[in-house]
Each structure stands twice: as C-alpha cells, then as structure tokens.
C-alpha cells in the first residue's frame, strides 16, 4: 500500500459544488492525506519545512485544483516556488523526490471540446499541463495521466456523485497499485482507466 498526499488548492472549497464532494470522498481513506493549502496558509506564508517533510513521507502526490487561467490557483504556484527547493527537489543533491509519482486532479468549467485545437481554448488540457509535467521531470518524479472533470458547472448532483465515486476508486487503485504502470502514463485521462 502506497501513501498518497493530496495537495488541495481551492480558495473557497466550502462553496464549491464538485471539488468539495471529490475531497470528501477521499479524505477518510487509509494512507491518504489531504493537505488544504488555503486553509493552512491563508496568508500565503507556506511552512516549507513541513511541506518538504510531507512530500518525503508520501509516495504519490496529487495536485488537486480547479483550472484557473489555464493553470493552478496562485497558492499552488507559491508552494512550488518555495517547497521545490534547490538541493531538495532538484540540483545535484536534490534527489529527495526521485522515484515518486505525481499527477494533477483538475476540474474545468469548459467542456472537453473547448480544450482542443478547434475549440475556443485552442489547446488541449495536456498542453496546458506541460509546466507540471516538466516540473515532475526535473524533480525526478514520474508524471501520471491527470484526473480531469470537464464542464464541472454543468454537472448535476448525480454527475457530481458519479465523479466523486470514480475519484475515490482511482485514488484507492493508485494507493493499492492496481493500475498497469505503463497505462498510467500513456492513457489520456486517468478517468479512462476506471
């Protein structure tokens, strides 16, 4: 059983329709820890030492956030800037994260179709997530396929429940090593493996 750290970056999780249910579905799982950045660091003063220790204690990292302006909410960028230090996460002596797995779990307002060459946003989700992919590469981590919920605002209660359960199954499967290692990287969305 591997240990999963879900790093949550949502400035108003209590008001969210989808993310709140996703997080609730996984927060009580054994060996899964939810680390709510906005709740822990409302003034953006991130405790670097604590965050680095958490990273070292876990095997799989999930960056869980809504897609804001084709990227993550500000606090997660701040987290990366501060926590992924030289000689910790990268550089000659920065090998502490080597071998860990990391993925994005994101929600987007727009449907899958708008995230395509012909859609309004012109690029795919995978293209927007390239900075995360390369961050993982530089830190020696394996970047897994993202868990993506498109058109989150259009989901009704049933839809939200469906995705929440699916997320829970995905996290459990990740934790218990149930996925085919190759597929985890090659599949388009992690959702598709469930």
């Amino acid at each position: 059983m591997e240990k999963i750290l879900i790093i949550l970056a949502h400035p108003a999780i209590h008001k969210s329709r989808v993310n709140k249910d996703l997080i609730l579905a996984v927060s009580d799982l054994e060996n899964v820890l939810v680390n709510d950045l906005y709740e822990n660091y409302p003034d953006f003063f991130i405790n670097v030492k604590r965050e680095q220790e958490l990273l070292q204690e876990h095997d799989i990292i999930v960056w869980h956030h809504p897609l804001y302006w084709y990227s993550c909410p500000a606090i997660l960028k701040e987290w990366m800037d501060l926590v992924l230090e030289h000689d910790f996460a990268y550089g000659r002596q920065g090998t502490r994260l080597h071998g860990k797995k990391v993925l994005n779990a994101i929600t987007t307002g727009g449907s899958a179709e708008v995230y395509s060459e012909k859609g309004k946003n012109h690029f795919t989700i995978h293209q927007f997530l390239i900075p995360f992919l390369q961050t993982a590469n530089l830190c020696g981590m394996q970047y897994l396929a993202p868990y993506v919920i498109h058109g989150s605002h259009m989901l009704n209660k049933r839809g939200v429940d469906f995705y929440a359960q699916k997320y829970k199954k995905a996290i459990i499967a990740l934790r218990d090593g149930k996925f085919n290692a190759g597929q985890l990287v090659t599949t388009s969305y992690l959702n598709d493996l469930i």
Binding site: P11, A12, I13, H14, K15, S16, R17, V18, N19, Y38, E39, N40, P42, D43, P66, L67, Y68, W69, T107, T108, G109, G110, S111, A112, E113, V114, G119, K120, N121, H150, G151, S152, H153, M154, L155, N156, R158, G159, F162, Y163, Y189, N191, D192
Partner: protein
Amino acid sequence: MYGQDFFLLALIYLLAAVIAVPLARKLGLGSVLGYLVAGVLIGPFVLGWVGKDTEKVMHFAEFGVVLMLFLIGLEMQPMVLWKMRRTIFGMGGTQMILSVIIIGTIAYLTGYQINQSISIGLIMALSSTAIVLQTLDEKGLLNNSGGRSSFAVLLFQDIAVIPILALLPLMAVLGGNSESAFNPEAHDTLFSSYPEVIQILLIVFVGAAIIYFGRIAARHIFRLVAETGMREVFTASALLLVIGAALGTSAIGLSPALGTFIAGVVLADNEYRHELETTIEPFKGLLLGLFFISVGASINFSLLVQNPFTIAGFVLLLIALKFGVLWITGKLWGLKHGREMLFALALAQGSEFGFILISFSNQIRIFDVQTSAMLIIIIIFSMAITPFLLMLNEKVIRPRYIRKRNRQVPDELPEKRNKIIIAGFGRFGLVVGRLLMANGHKVTILDSNPSNVEILRKYGFKLYYGDVTRPEMLEAAGVAEAKLLVLTMAEYDEALKIAAYLKKNYPHLKIAARARDTFHAFEFHKLELTMIQRETFNSAVELGAKILEFMGMPRYQAFRSARTFKHHEEEIFEELYQHWLEDENRFIQESRRFSEQLNELLQTEKEFSIHDTDYAWDITAMNTDENSDKNPGIQNH
C-alpha cells in the same frame, strides 16, 4: 420692558470681561482671576458701576455652574462614573468628615457655640465647583489622578448639599431657635409638604424620567429638531433639556447641578453629544464669567477695611485647614507624585454653595448678620486666592516633583551615531526594535522609564535612559545625523510636540510615529510624517479574523475579510482626515457613512468574490460553449 439700565449693565459686565480676561490670561493668571478682578473693579468699592444688583446677577449666573456640570456629564460615559463610585464616596466622605471635625473644632475653640461650629464646619467643607473645574479644565489638569479626584470630591459635595440643608435646621434647634428653625419659608421644595413616601416616589419618578428621556426620547427629538435645519431651534431644545433637568431635580429637593450632571451622563453616548456640547458651551462660558464677576463685585471691602487682620487670618486659616484635610485625604486614597498637592491646593477654598447655606443659616438664626457677612467674605477671598495657589503648584511645587522623579541623570550617549533612533522602548517600541535588530539594523534606543531600562538591559538590550519628551535628549542621541526617528513613546501630547519640533528643526529627518488612536494619527498626518501606525488597529483586526475563523469561516476567507477591512480603513483615512480638518461634527457623520460603505464592500466580497465560485474564471467559456449538452449529467465520460 427693560430700559436703558439693562443695556448699560450688560455693557459694563461685558466690557469688564472683554478687557480683564484676555489681560489675565496673557499674564498667565487664568480666566477665573480675570473675571474676579473685573468684578472688583466695577464693584461698589472701586468704580461703583454696579452695586445693588450683584446678588441677583449672581443668582442668575449660578446657572453657569449648572451648565458646566451638564457639559462635564456629557464627557463622562456612565461606566466611567460607575467606576468612580468608590473615589466619589470614599474620598468625598473622608474629606467631608475630617473637615467638619477639624474646622468645627477650631471654630469652637475660637469662641463659637457648638451648633455654630458644626454649621461652619459643614459649610466650609464645601469647595467651589465653578472655580476648581474651570481652572483645572483650562490648565488641562482634569484628566490626571489629582484632577479626577478633585472632580469626584466636588461631585460628592454637590450631593452632600442636600443633607446639609436638612441638618442646618437641627443646628438651629440645638442653639435654641426652635421656632424659626422649621420656618417653612426657609427651604421648601415643590413637594416638601407631601409625606416622605411620596417624596421618595417622586425622586424615583424624576430620575426615571431623566434616564428615559436621555436614553430613548432625546435621540428622536434631537433628530427631528436637527432635520428642521434651524440652529436656533436646536439651541432652544438643548437649553430646554438642561433647564428641564435642573427644575426637575430642584423640585424634588436635589441640587440642580446634580440633576443636569446626571442628564449629561445619560446623554454621553447620544449621537448628538458633540452638537449639544458646542451649543451649550458659549452659554456656560458667559454665565460662569458673569458668576465670577458678580463674586468679585460682591466683595465687601468695608468689612475688610474694618478688620483686615482678622479676615486675612481667617482666610489663611481656612485655606491651611482645608489644605491639610485634603492632603491627608489625598494621601489616604493613594495620590502621589505631587498629585496630592494639586488636589489639596485646588480644593482649598470655600464654595458658592456656601453663600446659599450661609444666607439660609442666617434666616434660621444660626448666625447673626455680622457673622454671616464675615463668613461670606472669607469664602470669597479663599476663592480669589485659588488661582494663585494653582499657579504656585504649577510653577514651584510641580517642577520640584518632576525633578525628584527624574533625579537619575540621563545616560551618556555613545559617540557612534546610528541611522535609526527609537524614542520610547516600552511594549510598542520593543517589538519594532526587535524586528529591526533581528534584520541587522543598528539602532539607538532611548527610554524614559528607569526601571524599564534596567530590566531590558538584563536581557541584553543596549538602551539609554533619558527623558524622550525633551528635544535636547534626542539631539544628543543624534537626530541631526540620523535617517529615521521611531517615535514610539506612550505620551500623547508630548509625542506630537516632539514631532512638530523635529519636523521644523531637522527637515531631513524622517519620522515613523506610533499613534494612540485615529485622532492622534490625524494630528501626525497634519505634520506630514513619513509613517504613521495606529497602535491597536492591526492587532484588533487580527483578533477579529481569528474570531471569524472560530465561528466557522474558512481561514482564507477570514484572512481576506480582515485584509479588506484594513485596506478600506487605509483608503478612507485621507478622506476622513480632510473632514476632520474641516469640522468635527461633520466628521462623525462621515465616519458613519464610511462604515456603511465598508459593510457593503465586505458583503460584496462575501457573495460575489471570484474565489467563492467553483467555476471561477472560465464562467464565460461555459456560457458560450456551443457544444454544451442541454441535459448535462455525465457529459464526457
């Protein structure tokens, strides 16, 4: 119809005041003495311009005292008064009992009968509310412990006048003048013919009426009146209120001054307080002035010429005895560092209530006419000497205490000059200083509290002892070469003075000031200081944010809410400052409008903030998403 006589009299009084008061103030004697001297000058024994009417004028002008107590009441929140209860009754009671015993005994030893001696003790125990409060207020001494104690004792005496009025007839009986003692003319109130139970009920009723009116009705009435926009109607209703309270309380046998004082306290948190103050203030000033002039004019110099030494002796004796009693009282109740001297000197005179009590005692034949005149002149002279006594305190006694307290010599300051000087290293300056030092800045630290200096030195701080309110000390510390002075001293007015002085003499020097409150911040802003920080504002907001979290608000939202609050406050500061510069009354209205605006802002933040929606930034993408399914459910997977 008043004829020319009335206008002539008015002309004389006004002229005397206009000439004598500015002159007296210029000479540093205070307005009270100016008025008294003016009174003496126009009185029957010098120019003789006024004479027979003085007593009537004095009675009329006593209303000034009533107005003054109303204004003092307005300044005093009910809670503050409640906190003072021990001082009022403890100090007031001690002073009263000691005075009666000591002054009464001396009077008995000089040959008065026992009933007369007790009466003299009771009458002379009182001090002059008018003179003391006016003088202390003018000198800004009402807010130190000596001034507050003086006020408490005067308040007690105002209350004590009523039982004294009841006791005097008993004294007359003791002296064998039984049939005149209960002369109903002597002191009757509207209701004194009713049985006692009804009288007590009436007292309760009038008290309740004042409180009801002040708490509930006054607000609406004043608003209605203010809405008419007619200033004179507001003035009329303000006077109506005061006169109503005065008549109401005197009808039930209490002192009108006490009644208006209570009315003032009840209205202290009314939103029209400031307007009431500015409306009543000129009436109070004029009437008090008139009162002092009439006191001056009624000094009977022929009596003085007949027995100059006796009178001078008695005046000095009275002052000495009162001073002694008050000094002991002050010491017993913990006044120190020269405050007990201020307290004892300020109250060491007879009272204007004394005039009333003496003429009453005369009516019920405790004293003969001769003795009454003598007692009155003694009181008047003791009153006239008070301003001099306070001047003596200010110029000679107080400096001595200050020197004694600051006996420790200022430390030798270092040769090496630092770029930053911190003036005041108490609980505020300490935090500022630690942050600066933690970041490697060299600072010169000054503090004027010797024990503080000693303690902090033990913790390894290098700080220098010296009076930070003195410009020379700061000059010795090197303000001429420094880049920044951190003005963190706790003294309110001194900090302003120092800032103004340095701004003028060392224009290159930047000043960072700790403001005690908004108004302090305004004053500093007026001096165009570089940095101004209100001392409690930030920590209060922080605590507020923690409470929001405690009540269940997510931490990030609480944090944003507190930030919004802070920034809003900073944004409106300049605007509020401008209003404050223009007009204080307007300022209060404006700040209310701003707080409504802030409310709206925070509400908006809560309901529509970008952070509060799950779909956040790409909401438009949703609306224009042509591919979106009308029956969403599980759309893509």
